[in-house]
Symmetry: C2
Subunit: 507 residues, 2 copies
């Protein structure tokens, strides 16, 4: 494969959505199934999810949360209690109506068909999210203010009947975690909402090398039933936005609908203030779109299924075993090293395949570091080091012992490099916009990037602009986000405002 | 609470099934939900499942398996391909027939009801198990013998519409792992089936302190679609059996139905030999019934959500802080120790509650070691140690430093103690039976235990005996299981036989 020809075709520039599909295929991450809109997550992709789970789970536990598990099926009556919430999910619910199958012989074909039977008096929906069923449990569990806060998380599958599915980013079934908490006061619940929002921001930055913009959703974009939705917004390489995680303050909406009430410190019966927050396998789609290149997947080291792959170079039969032994010995030594608190994940590719084929396979799979060891390297005690964040042709020869010492640092450098690259790209593609004409013109461009504007419009005005340009306000960035200064007058109404809105197209 | 009065009422002897429910309630492990037959697994119960998952997952990976994830919903057409398998699950399938809800105002009550809408042309069932959908993926993945073996595991929820649900032991939805593998030859597939069967036996013994009898199921009791089903059978304290895990050799049944075919070494197209194997949250029910006593849950140390709970005794305000500090310091030191490769799980109960209330709560929750530290203990550098495998009234005062050194050993002693106790109980309650009259009489007893007999009957004869006494052949124990010698003639037919059958009542 020459330097000009890329491993993935088409390239990002040629056709970004198709490039995305091809990266997934080349890395063997996932595939479509015959179940409409549902994917099979293959081992290389599921490995990323396992690492995301482990690392997020530690953060949840360190902040006082406990895992639990609630039923997959939600009684319709639960949904009916919170009208706004139910409406938000009604058009995409998978409904279970029968609890049996009957074998019926088709009189025409003679084949046996399975027919639904045993109709349920009360149908169930497969959870699109679990506020209602977890709320029902909370209502049973809470009696007094002493029972609060309740800090629960669930790792689960959920289902939303998506009409235009896309692997990882939008699938009918997806895997996620959903935190659900109940608190005595509004202030505590809002603190929790912000705490988990901050955890997501840190996680994306420090584990996935994705520099998100944290902010609040406008009323139009809020979670159905929430009083406040906080979001972390990632920019990917076609300059679209991906909502990578959300944290909701639900006020007393669900607690009133479901009667999560308690006897307060003053003896009066009060309703709890609840929150919910989640991230999903969509994060894998975000990683792919944020970091990968025209040669395939580029994995941030902390969630790389394998961080280092060692490729034995065995040109001659008589040195073959010595090379294999040296590779296995290096792998064992490296596995005793750690990066960010976890043992290094190292794989030796001993398959009897052409070296170039193997090398390109690991490039396309996004492994951060590739090591080659041949017969001569054993004598010189050197290794050939190649990094996924550098050009395919780049290589460094390193003393083996020095590499062992530096392996963890190199992973850290790769992480920092990916993060710096993504941050620079994001900042280049967020433009301050103070006047309406420029605003309208901006969205005519190809891959237009985001605009940052002063904003004082109504929800209706926001909707008109959104529909006109197929954009949304991604968020109103929170204080502390470093974005350039803008003027003080709303881009639409001209009214004085301190609110700033970030507009963009999104997945 | 006096020594005579037990924390759980009724006792095991009084009403075993009700005792079981009360142990779960007192330990706060799980509860029923409004979703028919589905449970909520509460944090203390889910913690056990997390530990089971972690520890089993390491074994799966160490034996070469990789995790992946497959769709929750299975097209009916998949089930129709393997008739025997489909029949086995048809009566307990949850069927999804619609993908939308519509809000309809009830003309009588004025209330808004949600009505299923958007009927699917092809309904789906929620997976009762995933042989068919994983087989469909395997058919796509396998082309050549070089693609084999495929060694895949999935952690997932499954659903079987149970008519008589019981927390953990039989619930409509449950959590499990299902291994699915495909091999080039029958021999390799059978080796895999036996390997995982052995893993389950070891896991139950070495992690859960449950001495199972490993064996093969008779044709009558096989998994629908399997050629061979291996099982591990646990005896619980009412002398009933629980099938704690199964490993199936599926022959070419699924690979022919689903066309998992490959080009072999000789160039011919062949069908793969497949296996599947699984254990579920049912194991938590088995733990409860195997080890718990009339004071509540008794947890085997390796899967105890907390292994050591430290209870500060703070009678006076002026020494209170010193006691709390000593408790936290001890906890930190202990968390740096490990038992069976995992850091000790230690909790300090700082709640402002009566000491007796707290102590009994941890007894009922089954924590292996309870430590009390009071003001005087700080001066003497002693701790009061109480063990869940000993009487509630027993306590040992130990030098703090010595306890720190020995904590891991004590957990090991508790494990061994539980295992020895369960093994003795099991062996006392397996009776050799060589004649039919004794056999028939045995099942008239209350809590009759298991019988071990020479067996050469037909499946039909087995079914007659089974129905007559509400028993089943739990397994034909594999070679190497130490059971007493029996005569050589089939208990029913009188024919010479080397086959031995283990009969019992089961959950
Ligand atoms: Zn109320
Ligand atoms: Zn075929």
């Amino acid at each position: 494969m020459s330097a000009e020809k890329t491993a993935i075709s088409p390239t990002r520039a040629q056709d970004f959505p198709e490039w995305y599909q091809q990266v997934i295929k080349a890395a063997d991450l996932a595939e479509n199934s015959e179940t409409r809109g549902c994917m099979v997550i293959k081992p290389w992709g599921y490995g990323i999810w396992e690492l995301i789970q482990q690392q997020l789970d530690r953060r949840f536990k360190a902040t006082g949360h406990q895992n639990a598990y609630f039923p997959l099926l939600i009684p319709l009556a639960y949904l009916e209690k919170e009208a706004e919430h139910a409406e938000g999910f009604a058009t995409e619910c998978a409904v279970v109506t029968h609890h049996r199958l009957e074998a019926v012989k088709d009189p025409v074909t003679g084949k046996t068909k399975m027919i639904p039977s045993g109709e349920l008096a009360e149908p169930y929906v497969i959870r699109p999210t679990s506020e209602t069923i977890i709320g029902a449990a909370f209502a049973r569990w809470v009696e007094s203010y002493r029972d609060l806060p309740l800090l629960i998380n669930q790792w689960a599958n959920v289902m939303r009947w998506e009409m235009r599915p896309r692997l990882f980013l939008r699938t009918a079934e997806f895997l996620w975690q959903e935190g659900h908490t109940a608190h005595e006061t509004k202030e505590e619940a809002i603190d929790e909402t912000r705490l988990m929002h901050g955890q997501y921001e840190e996680f994306l930055r420090d584990h996935l090398a994705i520099p998100v913009i944290p902010g609040e959703k406008t009323e139009n974009e809020r979670f159905p039933g929430a009083d406040m939705t906080l979001t972390v917004e990632a920019m990917v390489q076609d300059k679209k936005a991906i909502q990578a995680g959300t944290s909701h303050y639900l006020g007393q909406n669900f607690s009133k609908a479901q009667n999560i009430s308690f006897t307060g410190r003053d003896g009066t019966v009060q309703h709890a203030h609840t929150t919910s927050w989640g991230v999903s396998t969509r994060m894998i789609g975000t990683i792919i779109m944020a970091h990968s290149d025209d040669d395939g997947l580029v994995l941030p080291p902390r969630v790389a299924t394998q961080q280092i792959v060692i490729l034995p170079i065995t040109p001659k039969e008589d040195t073959r075993q010595a090379v294999l032994d040296a590779c296995q010995a290096l792998a064992s030594t490296l596995r005793n090293q750690s990066y960010q608190g976890d043992a290094l994940r190292v794989h030796v590719d001993t398959r009897d395949l052409n070296g170039g084929v193997k090398k390109w396979e690991w490039i396309k799979k996004g492994v951060p570091i590739r090591i080659e060891i041949g017969p001569r390297d054993i004598e010189t005690r050197k290794v050939c080091v190649q990094r996924r964040d550098q050009a395919v042709s780049e290589k460094q020869f390193s003393e083996k012992d020095e590499f062992i010492q530096r392996a963890s640092d190199i992973l850290g450098e790769i992480h920092n490099n990916l993060l710096a690259r993504a941050t620079a790209f994001r900042d280049e593609n967020i433009t301050v916009c103070d006047d309406l004409e420029t605003f309208h013109a901006h969205w005519e461009k190809e891959n237009p990037g985001w605009l940052y504007t002063p904003w004082a419009g109504t929800p209706e005005q926001e909707e008109v602009l959104s529909k006109q340009h197929k954009i949304t306000i991604r968020c109103l960035p929170i204080d502390g986000v470093k974005l350039p200064a803008t003027g003080g007058k709303c881009i639409l109404t001209g009214g004085e405002t301190t609110v700033r809105a970030l507009w963009g197209r999104s997945y």
